[in-house]
């Protein structure tokens, strides 16, 4: 069974709703929300070892909400989210991390941040050598290594 089907339809709906609460779309920054279909698909496809904790977090969320999260009004949703973060423990932290790690590798998001759409290897990055004269005050102060005797 693929990871996508390890969550029920209701759980996937709640995941989409809570993801949008964490990171909504922004016209100002020209980025999608974390409920974007491509980002959601990435989450579901790569849940892997996080599946059990994410499912546990979504069960906890469902208990707090009492119905699909999307059906609550905004104020109630906020209250549920606050309670979820306060009482969800490792499972809630895992769900949030899954949302964030998929969001911040999405092409549109990285482009908006001015980051390149690539793995670090093999191109790498270049560092400025910098001005080692910055060490002159340290050299001037010198100091001595503590003696062993």
């Amino acid at each position: 069974m693929s990871d996508a089907f390890k969550l029920t339809s209701t759980q996937r709906d709640d995941l989409r709703t809570v993801a949008a609460m964490i990171i909504p779309a922004s016209d100002e920054y020209k980025v999608p929300g974390a409920d974007d279909s491509a980002i959601q698909a990435d989450m579901l496809a790569t849940l892997g070892r996080d599946t059990a904790l994410v499912r546990q977090a979504l069960d906890h969320l469902a208990r707090l909400a009492g119905r699909p999260l999307a059906q609550l009004d905004a104020a109630k949703r906020e209250a549920v989210a606050t309670e979820f973060r306060a009482t969800g423990g490792a499972a809630a932290a895992t769900l949030v991390r899954v949302v964030l790690q998929c969001y911040y590798r999405n092409d549109r998001v990285l482009r908006s941040l001015g980051l390149e759409l690539r793995a670090p290897f093999p191109k790498g990055y270049t560092l400025n050598e910098g001005d080692w004269a910055l060490l002159d005050p340290v050299r001037a102060r010198a100091g001595t290594l503590r003696r062993a005797q």
């Binding site: 609460m21 964490i22 990171i23 909504p24 922004s26 100002e28 920054y29 980025v31 790569t46 892997g48 070892r49 996080d50 989210a81 932290a93 949030v96 991390r97 964030l100 790690q101 998929c102 969001y103 911040y104 590798r105 990285l110 941040l113 980051l115 759409l117 690539r118 793995a119 670090p120 290897f121 093999p122 191109k123 790498g124 990055y125 270049t126 560092l127 400025n128 050598e129 910098g130 001005d131 080692w132 910055l134 060490l135 005050p137 340290v138 050299r139 102060r141 010198a142 100091g143 001595t144 290594l145 503590r146 003696r147 062993a148 005797q149």
Partner: protein, 534 residues
């Protein structure tokens, strides 16, 4: 049980110390075999080769063996410790997964009792290790800048890492405060070196280097050792060391890659399994003659565990930092390394500066700290934080305390049914004061750099990189496990060469010193081959 032909020297563990001792002993032309529970790593599988490189740090490439859970890992019960053990199990050991920060213990670190009236002096001094530090720096390939006035003199064969964007921010802050700082010695190759390609700044070095620029012993010592005739047998997990009627080690029982029990006889056994794996193995090696574990007549096997509690403070500056586009550490400070009783504690700490973090790490960490909100303001705040982080970590000298210890868990076992280690550890009062001092000074440094949104990790919870002191070295058999050249007091053909033998911990990353000790022990063995067991 299958029985193999005997070898002259059997080394358990192919990590930092096992590789060094194997290479050094190879010139004796003895039959040397090393067993490691892990296998060879493949650089093309390393995280930085994929777009999901940061996500891997939370799973398959976590520093914690309990989270990672590869078949090569063994579980560790560290529930009763605020600091969790991190390691890596493969050829190269934890040098595959470390920051490559490369300070040495200071000469004064070997005379703690004499100088400060605490803990114990080592039975050896810095001068005894000097040639081995130098040899090890050449073998591992060290970059740095000679001449640090507050560190032991080193001669790095490669230039220091560039300052980049973060270095000047830290340097200027330290200059403003009038405090010492210096480019770190690291085992990151800044030029092509001995078959290794130079660093191309792939990002965080800790979870392995796809470029091979970071020294790990699978690409430094091991190719030389194997070429010199050392045999390395992988995916072999040692269960116990057996002894004969004379009380000498006769060999080891291990499980091969297919899980089949094997017996490997040996004339000499060398343990190089780190400060948790080594006491675990000794405590698992019980017999009628050694009912409390092997080499444990002192009762000190597993005791005096020292971690180096890391007190970390970080913040965010207006200027861009190096983020994930550089090795994570490039500068150190020894300003608070030596004892100053006016601070309210003895001994001291080194400071390791952090250049920044990648976007996923930043988002996850900042959300957990409560400084990155959910909702509409998320984007604005993230852009303020991401790529602007600077970190200050105080590596605090942990004093040896017997209640900090490794024992065998009565329930937890590894995949072969071997009892797993259990950690009981508390941060001592002296360390606590030292950490508070480090956090306060770190805050001053960050404020001098103009940082805001300051957060702390006190301690870094998954910060148990340095596993020290659990089979300490000494001249008194009732107060130590091995003698001044690494040989067990109780078992004359059993040696320990890893961080277990540390008497005190110093306030710096220990790998350089661990390897220097391994080379020193190998040299002592070679000098005494004719009467090694006397």
């Amino acid at each position: 049980m299958n029985k193999h032909g005997p070898v002259d020297v059997l080394i358990i563990g192919a990590g930092a110390s096992g590789a060094a001792v194997a290479w050094s002993l190879a010139d004796t032309k003895m039959h040397i075999l090393c067993l490691d529970q892990g296998g060879w790593m493949n650089q093309s599988d390393y995280p930085s080769t994929g777009r999901d490189w940061e996500a891997k740090f939370y799973g398959d490439w976590s520093t914690s063996p309990n989270i990672r859970g590869r078949p090569e890992d063994y579980p560790i019960n560290d529930d009763n410790s605020p600091i969790k053990v991190v390691n890596f199990n493969a050829v190269g050991g934890s040098t595959v997964m470390y920051t490559a920060h490369w300070p040495r213990l200071h000469p004064s670190d070997f005379k703690v009792k004499t100088l400060d009236g605490v803990a114990d002096d080592w039975p050896i001094d810095y001068d005894a290790l000097t040639p081995f530090f130098e040899e090890n720096d050449r073998m591992m390939g060290v970059s740095g800048m000679s001449g640090d006035p507050l560190s032991p003199l080193t001669h790095p064969p490669m230039p220091a890492q560039p300052l980049g964007l973060s270095g000047p921010l830290i340097g200027n802050a330290m200059n403003k405060l009038g405090w010492h700082w210096w480019p770190s010695d690291t085992t990151v190759a800044t030029m092509d070196y001995e078959g290794r390609a130079r660093c191309i700044n792939l990002g965080h070095c800790t979870p392995a280097c796809a470029q091979g620029a970071k020294a790990s012993t699978d690409i430094t010592y091991w190719p030389h050792a194997i070429r010199a005739g050392v045999e390395l047998r992988t995916h072999c997990r040692v269960r116990e060391i057996l002894t004969n009627e004379d009380g000498m080690a006769s060999g080891v029982v291990y499980y091969d890659k297919d899980g089949v029990e094997q017996f490997q006889p040996a004339e000499v056994v060398i343990i190089a399994c780190n400060g948790v794996g080594t006491p675990r193995l000794l405590l698992n090696s019980v017999s009628g003659r050694f009912p409390n574990g092997l080499a444990n007549s002192s009762g000190l096997v597993g005791k005096n565990l020292m971690f180096h509690p890391y007190a970390q403070i970080y913040g965010f500056v207006k200027e861009p930092t190096d983020s994930n586009r550089a090795p994570p550490t490039c500068l150190w400070s020894k300003e608070f390394y030596d004892t100053d009783l006016s601070r309210g504690f003895v001994r001291g700490y080194g400071i390791q500066f952090g250049r920044g973090a990648g976007p996923v790490f930043e988002a996850v960490a900042s959300e957990q700290k409560g400084i990155l909100p959910w909702g509409a303001d998320h984007h604005r705040v993230f852009r303020k934080l991401n790529g602007h982080r600077l970190a200050v970590s105080a590596i605090c000298e942990d004093l040896p305390e017997e209640h900090n210890r490794v024992t065998l868990d009565p329930v937890l076992k590894d995949g072969h049914g071997i009892p797993a280690p259990k950690i009981d550890y508390t941060i001592g009062a002296n360390s606590r004061k030292m950490m508070d001092h480090g956090l306060a000074r770190g805050r001053e440094i960050l404020e001098a750099a103009g940082a805001t949104d300051i957060c702390i990790n006190d301690p870094i919870p998954w910060g148990g990189w340095h596993l020290l002191g659990t089979a300490r070295m000494g001249t008194d058999p009732s107060r130590s496990v091995v003698n001044e050249w690494g040989r067990s007091h109780d078992v004359k053909n059993l040696f320990i060469v890893d961080g277990s033998v540390f008497v005190t911990s110093g306030g710096v990353n220990p790998t350089s010193t661990i390897q220097a000790i391994a080379l020193y022990v190998a040299d002592q063995m070679k000098q005494r081959l004719a009467n090694l067991f006397d």
